[in-house]
């Protein structure tokens, strides 16, 4: 009987809706978004597949705590405004999260529909097909300074504003958005969407001060004089290098530099935009995370052949499956179990010397530790290398004030996001190292709640 029931469920709903995508052979020549998102018809069909479970497990998997069941019902009923309103109650960045959240490891993971509902795509649809309405908010009279306008800072500031607090966000760069702006490429997250969602947050009353390098322009102490609390969300902006020979040759980029030049400075539109980026014929990207895959796909679009080398195997790659598949479709080559030894060249890069690896026993991360295979050295010819082996917390603020920091320069905060200085809170990658956009959003939101409660108590 049980088995029979399952079969009923399986055949009851219509087919899984797949959004249109730009064809690989076209998209490798432009920076436009790969995925077009759902049409109205598709979104409604997909929403109607939702089983509306009594106990929606998907919601347990959402770090932002969105009422997923409810918003999907609204889409199924074609009440798109209500769908968006439901999402905005918990998440001010639905267009962004709908694109970059690793839903397959979160909400979608515990969905019991078969196939699982594409929740993130529905969130994206809601964000694009309804107007974000700003309601009147009762002011608390409290003032909070937020440092950094990336995912953590934006989530924290919008939550605080929704609770009636006056918020000023200080951003070091000339554009807000942090990693959403300088890091994630246009074809995965359109900058128009980022700016639209930031505009909504501004409409909630959040004031964003650009070109404001905290620690240099204003100290935390100065901010505390003007504000009741400070939240630090300065992210993981410090690129790691390998420490191998040839790493400072021309045409060796950190992924951060390569992506910043292209995403923030629009070097892919050089010389219309003045910031240059080297155009290579053959690029090797070192690393296995989303940043490595993003860099590879940018290099591809700049006209280069691209190989990603990763010291573990496909299974251990931290990048999202969807992005890895997109990269494969775009003709990016992967060389697994390959570790770089040195970068070869005189002025510019001529190639990279690597060694083959094999997987040993699991290490601290739970993944099998890669070990070099003796005598397996080989060379890959290339004229550009991008190092994407991870980022650490940006050290600028930790250096300029007396905050307790960890070994890697991360700011130490307790479970309540409280740092070693009274009324100074921190969350996102600056505390955890390098994680995901949604983890930072979740930190920012939770910290906002704690800050608000604390200030209300006085």
């Amino acid at each position: 009987m049980h088995v029979f029931k399952r079969q009923v469920i399986k055949t009851m709903g219509s087919e899984e809706q797949k959004p249109e995508e730009q064809k690989p052979e076209e998209r490798i020549h432009n920076f436009n978004e790969v995925c077009f998102g759902y049409t109205k018809d598709q979104a409604i069909k997909e929403a109607k597949r939702c089983l509306q479970c009594q106990l929606p497990l998907c919601e347990k998997g959402c770090p932002a705590g969105i009422s997923i069941k409810k918003f999907i019902k609204h889409i199924a009923d074609e009440e798109f405004d209500l769908a968006l309103k439901t999402i905005l109650e918990k998440n001010s960045l639905p267009g962004i999260c709908g694109r970059v959240c690793p839903a397959e490891d979160q909400c979608k993971k515990s969905c019991i529909s078969k196939p699982k509902i594409n929740i993130a795509l529905l969130e994206r649809f809601a964000a694009e097909n309804a107007e974000k309405i700003v309601k009147n908010i009762k002011k608390t009279g409290k003032r909070i300074a937020v440092i950094g306008s990336g995912p953590a800072g934006l989530a924290c500031s919008s939550e605080l504003a929704l609770m009636g607090n006056e918020v000023v966000v200080y951003e070091a760069l000339h554009k807000p958005g942090g990693v959403l702006t300088y890091g994630i490429p246009e074809f995965r997250l359109s900058k128009k969407i980022v700016m639209d969602e930031i505009d909504y947050i501004k409409k909630l009353g959040v004031n964003i001060e650009l070109n404001s390098v905290i620690g240099k322009l204003f100290s935390i102490d100065e901010l505390l004089k003007k504000h009741d609390a400070v939240f630090i969300g300065t992210g993981a902006g410090l690129p790691y290098f390998l420490g191998i020979d040839g790493e400072n040759l021309n045409n060796v980029y950190s992924a951060n530099e390569f992506l910043t030049r292209n995403n923030l400075m629009k070097a892919y539109k050089f010389p219309e935009y003045i910031t240059p980026v080297k155009k290579a014929k053959r690029t090797v990207v070192i690393g296995g995370g989303n940043v490595a895959v993003d860099s590879a796909r940018v290099a591809k679009r700049l006209g280069s052949d691209v190989t990603i080398i990763y010291r573990r195997s496909r299974n251990e790659m931290p990048a999202r499956d969807e992005e890895i598949n997109h990269a494969y479709e775009e003709g990016i080559e992967f060389k697994f179990l390959t570790s770089p030894i040195k970068i070869i060249g005189k002025d510019d890069v001529d190639g990279i010397e690597c060694i083959s690896m094999k997987l040993g026993k699991p290490d601290d991360s739970g993944r099998r530790r890669p070990m070099p295979v003796k005598g397996s050295e080989f060379k890959i010819a290339c004229d550009q290398v991008i190092v994407a082996i991870g980022q650490g917390p940006n050290p600028l603020i930790g250096k300029t004030i007396n905050l307790n920091t960890g070994k890697k320069g991360n700011i130490i905060a307790d479970n309540n996001y409280q740092t070693s200085i009274k009324n100074v809170f921190a969350g996102g990658d600056i505390t955890s190292g390098s994680a995901t956009v949604i983890k930072a959003i979740s930190d920012g939101k939770k910290a906002a709640k704690i800050i608000d409660e604390k200030l209300k108590r006085g």
Binding site: A172, L173, H174, Y182, L210, N211, S212, V213, K216, L217, F218, G237, L238, P239, F241, G243, E247, N248, N250, N251, S254, N256, E257, T260, R261, M265, K266, F270, P271, E272, Y273, I274, T275, P276, K278, D347, N394, P395, L396, K399
Partner: protein, 268 residues
């Protein structure tokens, strides 16, 4: 937006601008720099803060590429879209004894705030150089703030004929020197560093290519004693004898072709 309060052409292709930026001015210390971006399509370039007032900062730049050329065309009353700073670590205002500043080209602008800060507790000897007389600037200001000033031109049109390193070599033989600070083109700083290696403590100010200026990209990285350091957040001042000069010189010419492309396009 940051308003240009005053603009002056100091020498051939050398422009000074006083920019209204009260918050930055308030925090500026000798050795700091700013990153600026002229307009929406512009690049971010670092420039040393040569001077500051209550509400303004002064930058001096050489017209060498597209961005500096665009900047040189702005006038008093015009706005610069973005100015971020003060960045980099300020110099240590220490008592050394006798300090010799060795500066060439735009480095003359960069030593100016430093010698002003150090002159109270040190004897200052400045050696400044340029190809020819027309390219020299801030000569009176440097003279006023130094105990002794030696001027060199490659063609002998002003002061001594020869390079700043020639003058420094002579000076080392005559004078008891405690510290050397050199700012200018990397080739010049390399020559100074080689001259003083093993003899005299020497500080150099690194002017590598930057994007964000806040430690995020590593474009400005150098090898210092075989370790990677970022000029923007670890510097810009470093022990000259530990810098891999050849690598820096190479890295600084990285975008020569692109710079050329950009200028050609502009001329069309």
């Amino acid at each position: 937006m940051y308003k240009i309060k005053e603009k002056k052409v100091l020498a051939e292709k050398t422009v000074m601008m006083e920019i209204t930026a009260p918050d930055i001015a308030k925090k500026t210390k000798p050795g700091n720099f700013v990153i600026l971006r002229i307009n929406e399509k512009g690049e971010r370039i670092p420039l040393t803060i040569a001077d500051h007032n209550l509400k303004t900062i002064t930058i001096i730049f050489l017209v060498v590429g597209r961005t500096t050329e665009d900047l040189s065309k702005l006038n008093e009353g015009d706005n610069i879209l973005d100015v971020a700073g003060p960045l980099g670590n300020p110099i240590k205002a220490k008592k050394y004894g006798t300090i010799v500043f060795v500066a060439g080209g735009l480095g003359i602008a960069a030593i100016y705030p430093q010698l002003k800060a150090l002159k109270e507790s040190n004897k200052i000897i400045s050696i400044i150089g340029a190809k020819t007389k027309e390219l020299l600037f801030l000569v009176d200001e440097i003279k006023e703030n130094s105990n002794e000033t030696i001027i060199c031109t490659d063609d002998g049109s002003y002061g001594k004929k020869g390079f700043v390193t020639d003058a420094l070599k002579e000076l080392i033989e005559q004078e008891q020197i405690n510290h050397i600070i050199t700012i200018g083109p990397p080739v010049m700083m390399k020559a100074v560093s080689e001259l003083t290696r093993g003899k005299l403590e020497t500080t150099a100010s690194i002017n590598s290519i930057m994007v964000d200026g806040i430690g995020m990209c590593g474009s400005c990285r150098i090898h210092l004693n075989n370790k990677i350091r970022f000029a923007c957040v670890d510097g810009p001042e470093f022990n000259a004898h530990e810098v891999d000069w050849d690598e820096l010189i190479k890295r600084n010419s990285k975008y020569k072709e692109e710079e050329h492309e950009c200028m050609c396009l502009k001329d069309k």
